[in-house]
Symmetry: C2
């Protein structure tokens, strides 16, 4: 059976919703944040860690797994769940974003995209049919249509890309041969309200079991992101899940939940962790800072994660300064816990009709970093790895 | 209270012994292998992993922790156990080996050793009094005398170094101010039987609560190593534990247990793991090898470790090829499990009077790599990190 979404409750004073997606590998309680396991591992964590952290959904990258170890290898090993030892729900993206974040070496036609591997320079073709086939080999519970992610401020490019994205969405639906995977359409259209509306209406007409919103958090301003959600979400069917791709900053999660988003994924918590940047309710700290050399307190007082329950800021700083592998692991555990705990709090607040107050209180204490998303995106493009 | 050794049983047909060291942080059942946590972490593992693996003793390096984060920082954070979140027994070495494996930048006098930090080039002095003081700040259960580890084939150097090592042992005993740490003497003497005998007799006369044998597995042949154990061990008091420093190859563990050794430490299992080399009863495999690309079996059939219980060779190979952090973690779990399980089997065999048969059976299936130890040592010296 494919994944089924149940809408449990919608907030009175916002668009925030409480729901549940039932998959063959267990339920996902929404609003939910999915840690990213680009190469079939959430970096520095093992599946037992993810369970203990309360992760209900993880994302893996079609582009990366297609190139290495190969979708046929994963299929031969019993599919992605078995391969990576994670028996909970998995979502794979279509690989489109990665192809388009590798700025060089790609040629887009109406048929698909020709690109060169960042691993070995070999040439490859992604078409709607190819990416559906690959995702069927990988075997995730939720899979994505091939889309074209354009520079968000370029009107002409967004018009052309949107036409392709829509044609590809139709072809993906036709190409799907497995009935146990939920194929989501992806709304595009840059920062142009009319294109976003057109895209939402077109895809809603195709009757997908879920809808993603792509091409946001890729360089546009936060007001632009909010405006695009405001025009898009109301045009998507209420009884289907809505997934905002590549967004994971705490303030963005809250603003998007308020606008009716159910699912999120982002490399932010794991990538920041490896750079020693740790989430706190009062904003982030960089644990390498000299001020933590003799600080016996946990990263965040009151935090229930394994890291905060067992280790001091002083020890974490030492591990980072000494270049120890355990640094990445303990920092990742804390950051992923922070976002998953935030989403649990969000769900409880929505259930209690107190989401607005919760959001206001959180945001009043959390310093917003305006160029967060843009900087992350720049780093992503520079690295040529482009994992959302 | 200091650590107490209880000799439980000695084998009939070899010198193999069964014992228990009771420390303030719990018992160590001997013969025991201690994983090495050079910089206050066993690389890629957390304390929960170590507990689950059944580790009863870990080693940390005085030299590294003195330089970074500093023994005063560790002391201020409540000592090494609290700092690294490990409440089991810890042994610290004296730092002597690390100083002497940094071939450049050291000047030895009868007073001690002046050397430059491999971290920042700053100049430091280790004397017997200084290293006892540092180890008292770190707070391990078992601590070591400052010794001089000489090139094993150089007679004149070994004579001079041994005189210093003995004088330093006396000074370490006098310098000790904490009564809750067991200070072990270290037998030296290169590959010279008369020097080893002289050293064992001299140190036994000082009445240490335990005795280490240093300066082996540093470039000498296996027959030389065995010969040195044969002449040394019988001169050490039977009622005290005997610790062979820096030895961890499976065949060396068995040969040394047969000669009456109770304790071991070595970076071999953790370092090999990070290089994708995995222990098996039939010898080692390198999991990066192309033959494992589509191998659905665990690293070793029948192995009870978390890695083998949950992941295939194919997945481990993928993690190493993709440069994922989880590769180091899963490989380290397997290799440390292998050696700790081997030592559990050894203890059971000794208890059952079947050690000789166990050793013969194991060694008949395990291909010995003659230059293993030497190669590891060369790598160690090249890296200028010198962690045993």
């Amino acid at each position: 059976m494919s994944s089924e979404f149940t809408l449990l409750h919608t907030d009175d004073s916002s668009q925030a919703r409480l729901g549940r997606i039932d998959t063959a590998h267990g339920p996902i309680h929404t609003p939910a944040f999915a840690p990213v396991g680009t190469q079939a591992t959430v970096k520095a964590l093992d599946p037992r860690d993810l369970r203990e952290l309360g992760a209900e959904l993880i994302l893996a990258n079609t582009y990366h797994l297609y190139l290495r170890p190969g979708a046929d290898v994963v299929a031969e090993m019993g599919g992605l769940h078995h391969f990576m030892g994670w028996d909970g729900p998995i979502l794979t993206d279509s690989g489109g974003f990665q192809v388009f974040s590798l700025a060089e070496n790609r040629v887009v036609t109406d048929d698909g995209v020709v690109f060169r591997s960042h691993v070995d320079g070999s040439q490859h073709l992604f078409t709607p049919e190819v990416v559906v086939r690959i995702q069927e080999q990988l075997g995730a519970d939720i899979i994505m249509c091939l889309d074209e992610c354009a520079e968000p401020h370029d009107r002409a490019y967004n018009e052309a890309a949107l036409a392709r994205t829509h044609a590809w969405a139709t072809r993906c639906l036709e190409a799907q041969s497995r009935s146990d995977q939920a194929l989501f359409g992806i709304v595009q259209g840059g920062i142009f309200a009319d294109l976003r509306q057109e895209s939402a209406e077109f895809l809603a007409g195709l009757g997908f079991p879920g809808y993603a919103i792509g091409g946001l958090s890729v360089g546009e301003s936060k007001p632009d992101m909010h405006a695009m959600l405001d025009v898009t979400v109301p045009l998507l069917p209420a009884e289907k899940p809505r997934y905002l791709m590549g967004v994971g900053a705490p303030e963005d999660l809250l603003e998007a939940v308020a606008r009716g988003i159910d699912l999120f994924d982002c490399v932010l918590p794991t990538r920041l962790a490896r750079n020693a940047a740790l989430f706190m309710r009062q904003g982030r700290i960089n644990i390498r800072n000299a001020q933590f050399e003799r600080d016996p307190s946990p990263v965040e007082a009151g935090c229930g994660c394994y890291t905060c329950q067992n280790f001091s800021r002083s020890y974490l700083r030492h591990l980072f300064k000494a270049g120890e592998i355990l640094a990445a692991r303990l920092a990742t555990i804390h950051n992923v816990h922070f976002l998953l705990a935030l989403m649990r709090d969000v769900r409880q607040a929505v259930a209690e009709g107190a989401f607005d107050a919760f959001k206001d209180e959180f945001l009043s204490g959390y310093p917003i970093i305006p160029h967060e998303v843009r900087a992350t995106n720049r780093e992503r493009r520079k690295s040529h790895q482009g994992s959302r």
